[in-house]
């Protein structure tokens, strides 16, 4: 096995791990935002948001 092989493998491994970390973080963020949107659509408002609106009206 040449040394270049181990080097290539290390960089490949690094690439994969970094890609997984980045991908997971982004997908997780997307999922949470979707869930928030769903809740918002179902009419669950954050209390502070509701309060803000009330203040605006007043």
């Amino acid at each position: 096995m040449t040394h270049a092989f181990y080097v290539a493998l290390s960089y490949a491994a690094s690439g994969i791990v970094v890609a997984v970390l980045v991908g997971w973080t982004l997908l997780d963020g997307r999922a949470q935002q979707r869930a928030l949107k769903e809740l918002e659509a179902a009419g669950i408002r954050r209390r502070s948001a509701a309060r803000d609106q009330a203040e605006k009206k007043a």
């Binding site: 791990v17 973080t25 928030l36 669950i44």
Partner: protein, 253 residues
């Protein structure tokens, strides 16, 4: 998120999740771009500098192995600081930060283990050895996974925060062990040559790409950590609003 960002008036405002979300929304794009640039430069340097006369090509593994190893320890230190924040100051974001850091730390530790093994096979002739440095890094990896398992199994954040913080602090003894294992015990692994009291003992030819790559990894870590904290805040909002939904349904019916 297009929320208006409340102004930061005092230091403790940073504890406010909404303000934090606003800040990250502004900072993260810059961080991400900087990370990409730094990686490009680091990789360029890593593959254009010459190989070592002793280790040949494999020295290039160092440019990922060492930053990953450093970050695995730094990440745990950040978690320990967050744990202190949870226990001492009851900072609402501290627990979020610790929880968000754990998977990242596990990732970097895994990387250090894998690249170390890939380096060890050509250099030492074995993938693995139960010496003090390697074992302690492996223990660090297990600790990360254990903490992840714990925080996910206890789904009430208020409850898991203190338990996790205590465990993080107990596990912190491992970090000095990792750092100094090469000096305290007789190991295969080489002793520190970059970060030493009496100045660096490594050739500038290798030091330059190493430091650039270390910078790139660090930037990557902070970018991801910010994003992960943001995700965690959102996750808690989701679960809080779900509970609220359950209770509102009670009231209406």
């Amino acid at each position: 998120m297009s929320e208006p960002i409340p102004a930061i008036k005092k230091f403790s405002d940073l504890a406010n999740p909404t303000i934090f979300l606003g800040l990250t929304a502004r900072i993260v794009p810059f961080l991400a771009v900087a990370t990409a640039l730094m990686f490009a430069f680091g990789l360029y340097l890593a593959f254009t500098t010459e190989g070592d006369y002793q280790q040949g090509e494999t020295v290039r593994i160092m440019y990922v192995h060492v930053p990953a190893a450093w970050l695995s320890m730094m990440c745990y230190s950040i978690m320990a600081a967050s744990a202190l924040g949870t226990l001492v100051w009851r900072h609402p974001l501290a627990d979020v930060s610790a929880k968000a850091a754990a998977p990242l730390g596990a990732g970097f530790t895994f990387l250090a283990l894998v690249t170390g093994s890939l380096w060890g096979k050509p250099m030492w002739g074995t993938w693995w050895e139960w010496d003090a440095r390697l074992t302690s890094v492996f223990v660090l990896f297990l600790m990360y996974l254990g903490l992840m398992a714990l925080t996910r199994a206890l789904d009430d954040p208020a409850k898991s925060a203190r338990v996790a913080a205590v465990l993080i602090l107990i596990g912190f003894v491992n970090i000095p062990i990792i750092k100094f294992s090469v000096e305290w015990w007789n190991t295969l692994h080489q002793p520190a040559s970059v970060m030493r009291m009496d100045g660096s003992a490594i050739d500038g030819e290798f030091l330059r790409p190493l430091l650039v790559m270390a910078g790139a990894f660090t930037l990557l870590f902070f970018t991801l950590h910010f994003l992960a904290i943001r995700n965690e805040i959102w996750r808690r909002r989701v679960s809080a609003q779900r509970r609220l939904a359950a209770r509102m349904a009670n009231r209406e019916s």
